[in-house]
Symmetry: C2
Subunit: 400 residues, 2 copies
C-alpha cells in the first residue's frame, strides 16, 4: 500500500471562488429578477455556483441584484448540512429557513425575501421540473439560460491549479498501469498476459490504477476505462476482460479531485505487439495529435482542431465517416467540474484563452482493437500549455 504522504501531499488549498459577474450581466441584459439553480451534489452547474459538495437531495442557489446592481447570492442549505454549507459557499448568505420544504419552494421564498414577487427567473434548462413548477406557481416566469455553462468554459488561475493537480494524479495512475504492463509476461501458450502470479485482466489493472488515484487524494469517478482488444474499440469499457498478448490495451483515466475538477488522460499499450494494425494505428494517432495541437490557439475556430486531426487520420488510410470503425468521435471536449463541458471541438465557435480541452484522436476496429492518445491542455493567446505531460510508447516501459 502506498502512503500518500510518502509521495506528495498537496494539503487542502481553499476551493476556487466563483465570479458571479457574467451571471449578473445576463440578469441585467434580460431584465430578469433572479437566477435559480436547483439540484443535488451531482449537478455540476450547482457545484460551480456554490462550491458546495452537498447531499444527494435537492438544494437551491439564488442570485439576485441589489438596487446598486451588485449581485447577492444565497445557498438554501439542506438540513444537516448548515455547517458544511457555511464552510464551502463563497457567496453571501447561507439560508437555513424552511429546510423541510422542497428546494424550489425555498428558492421562491429567497426571491421574495430579496423583494421580488414576480418577474422572469433564469434557470439552467435541466432544472428539476418540480422546482420550475414551484417557481411558476409562486408567480415567476421561468426562462432558460446557458450563462452558467458559458461562464464555466473559461478557467481562472485557481481552477487551472486544481485541474493540474488532478491531471498529475491521473498521470500517476497511467504510469502505474504502464509499469504493470511492462512487468507482465506472456504465458508459454501465448494465450494470456500474466502479472504478479496471476492472469492480468482489465479489472485487475483498473484496481491498480484506482489505488494510485486514491493514494493521491483523487477518485475514480466510475470511469477508469480500460479495454483490451475488441473492448479497446468500445469507447467506455469498464468491465472485466483477460488481457491477451499483442492486443491493444487502452487506458482512459478521468478521476475527480476534491474540489470537483476532473483530469483526463489516455494512453494505449500492447504487451508484445505484433507490429501490424496496432503500429499503423499508433503512428496515425500520434500524427493526428500533432496536427490537432498545431492548430490550437485563442481565436481559432474550434472545429478546425477536429478537422485537422480527422484529415491526418484519413491521410493515414483510416475511415473518419463511421460510428464503428476508424475515427468515430470528436477530437476533444472541454473539462472542468464536468468531465464533458464546453467548448465542443465540432461546434461553430472560436477557442478562447482559458478554455481547457482534451486532445484525443483515436482509431478503432472491433476486429483489431483501439488506439487513442489523450492529453489535457489550456488554450493560451498564441497556443496552448499541457496541464500535465506523459510520454508515449506502444510497448510499455517500467516507469515507477
Amino acid at each position: 500500500m502506498v502512503d500518500a504522504d510518502s509521495v506528495d501531499d498537496d494539503g487542502d488549498p481553499d476551493a476556487p471562488g466563483t465570479d458571479y459577474g457574467p451571471l449578473a450581466d445576463e440578469l441585467a441584459a434580460r431584465d430578469a429578477v433572479g437566477c435559480v439553480a436547483v439540484g443535488d451534489r451531482f449537478d455540476d452547474d450547482l457545484r460551480y455556483l456554490t462550491r458546495f459538495s452537498g447531499p444527494d437531495r435537492d438544494y437551491a442557489f439564488v442570485l439576485t441584484l441589489g438596487s446598486d446592481g451588485a449581485p447577492h447570492t444565497a445557498l438554501c442549505a439542506p438540513a444537516l448540512f448548515d455547517e458544511q454549507a457555511r464552510r464551502e459557499f463563497p457567496g453571501d448568505t447561507v439560508g437555513v429557513d424552511r429546510q423541510g420544504d422542497p428546494a424550489g419552494v425555498r428558492a421562491a421564498a429567497a426571491l421574495a425575501d430579496a423583494g421580488h414577487d414576480s418577474g422572469t427567473v433564469l434557470v439552467p434548462q435541466g432544472i428539476p421540473h418540480d422546482a420550475a413548477v414551484y417557481l411558476e406557481n409562486a408567480g415567476y416566469e421561468v426562462a432558460s439560460t446557458d450563462a452558467v455553462a458559458r461562464a464555466r468554459e473559461t478557467k481562472t488561475t485557481a481552477e487551472l491549479d486544481r485541474l493540474r493537480r488532478v491531471q498529475r494524479a491521473a498521470i500517476r495512475g497511467i504510469r502505474r498501469a504502464e509499469t504493470v504492463l511492462a512487468e507482465a509476461t506472456v504465458d508459454p501458450d501465448r494465450d494470456e498476459v500474466r502479472w504478479n502470479g496471476g492472469v492480468l485482466s482489465t479489472e485487475r489493472l483498473r484496481r491498480q490504477v484506482n489505488e494510485v488515484l486514491a493514494a493521491h487524494g483523487v477518485r475514480d469517478a466510475g470511469n477508469t476505462v480500460i479495454g483490451a482488444g475488441a473492448t479497446a474499440a468500445d469507447l467506455h469499457y469498464t468491465g472485466t476482460d483477460v488481457i491477451r498478448p499483442g492486443e491493444t490495451v487502452l487506458l482512459d483515466v478521468s478521476p475527480r479531485g476534491p474540489d470537483g475538477y476532473y483530469g483526463d488522460v489516455t494512453r494505449t499499450f500492447a504487451v508484445d505487439p505484433e507490429g501490424g494494425w496496432d503500429r499503423r494505428a499508433y503512428l496515425a494517432v500520434e500524427a493526428a495529435r500533432e496536427a490537432a495541437l498545431e492548430e490550437v490557439a485563442a481565436g481559432v475556430p474550434a472545429a478546425t482542431v477536429h478537422e485537422e486531426a480527422a484529415a491526418e487520420l484519413a491521410a493515414h488510410g483510416f475511415r473518419v465517416d463511421s460510428s464503428e470503425v476508424g475515427f468515430t468521435h470528436s477530437t476533444g471536449h472541454g473539462v472542468g467540474v464536468s468531465l464533458h463541458e464546453g467548448p465542443s471541438l465540432t461546434a461553430d465557435e472560436d477557442l478562447e484563452a482559458g478554455n481547457v480541452l482534451t486532445i484525443e484522436p483515436g482509431v478503432y476496429d472491433p476486429s483489431e482493437g483501439g488506439v487513442r492518445l489523450e492529453d489535457l491542455i489550456v488554450v493560451t493567446g498564441d497556443g496552448f500549455e499541457f496541464l500535465g505531460e506523459y510520454p508515449f510508447s506502444l510497448v510499455p516501459q517500467k516507469r515507477d
Copy 2:
C-alpha cells in the same frame, strides 16, 4: 500497494435485472400511456430502470404497455454509447434513432412509436424541466409518480448480493483505518498523533481507506467522511485536520460498487482516549444501537426504530431536540443505488421484508467530538440480518 487479486476478486457477475411489474401496474392503475425517466449517469432512478452507467449527458427510458398489458421498455441510447447500452440494458429495445435530439424529444418519439400520441405520461418529479416541456409540447400530459422510488425500497436477492459485496469492501476500509490508528503513536508533547513517520491527518487516513476500497473494486463516491474532535461533530466532514490524542475519530465509509449499489458503515475510535465524554457517548450509542435493532422487523412502524434509539440516548443524558448537540439526526435511512433512499426511519410507514437500512445512532458536541456507530441491515419477516459485520471498540485494535 495491495494487489486486488491477492485479496479477493469477485469477478464481474451479471448486473441485477429490474422488475418492471410495479411500474406497469402503476400505469394501468392511473390509466397512463407511458412512463418516462430522463437524466444522466447521476440519476439513480434511471440507473435502476436501465442498469446503464451512461455518460454525463441526458438519455431517456420509456415504458409502455402492449395491447396484452405486458410492459415494453426502451432505452434511448446516447451517441457513442450504443454498444454499452446493449450490453447493460435488461429491457426490450435500445433505440439509436435521432441521437442528436434532446432526450425529451426522443422519449416523445418512442411513445409515438408505441402507438400513443397523447395521454398521461408518468415521470419522476425531478425529471429535467426541458424534458417535461418537450413531452407537453408533443401532446402528452405529464404527471408525477413515486412508483420507481417505492419499487426501489424492496430489494431482490441479486440486489442484496451486490449490497453485501460493497459493504464487505467498506468494512475492509474501516479495518484498514482502525489498524492505522492502532499503529499510531502520540508525540511527546501530546499534540499530535503520528503514524509511519509523519503527522496523521484525516486526509492521510482517508487516502488509506480509499486505497483499500479501490483494491476491492469499489470506489469512494466523494463521501469517505473522516472527522476528528470538532469535525467529528460535523456530520459530513471530508477535509484535512491533524488528529490529536484523545479526540474521537469518526469514520463513515460509503463506497459505491460497479453496479451502482452503496455500502455504508461508521465506526468511531480515539487514540489514547481520556475516558470522559467519549466513553459516556460511546456507551450511550452502543445502547441506542441495540435498542433500535431490537425493534426491527417487517410490519413494525419505521418511526418506532428511531424513537427507541432516541429514548435510549435521552436516558443516557444526551439531548435529542437540538440540531447542534446530542442526537441531531435520524437513526437511519434506506440504501440501494442511492446512498439515501426509502424507507425513512422517521416516516409514517411500516418496514417491509427486503428493506435495506442503516442503523446509525450518534451523539455530537462540537466542543468534545462525535460518536456514531453504523451498520447496514436487511429487514426480514421476524427481524433483520447484517449485510456485513465488524466489531466495536473505542480504542483501536490492529486487525489487518
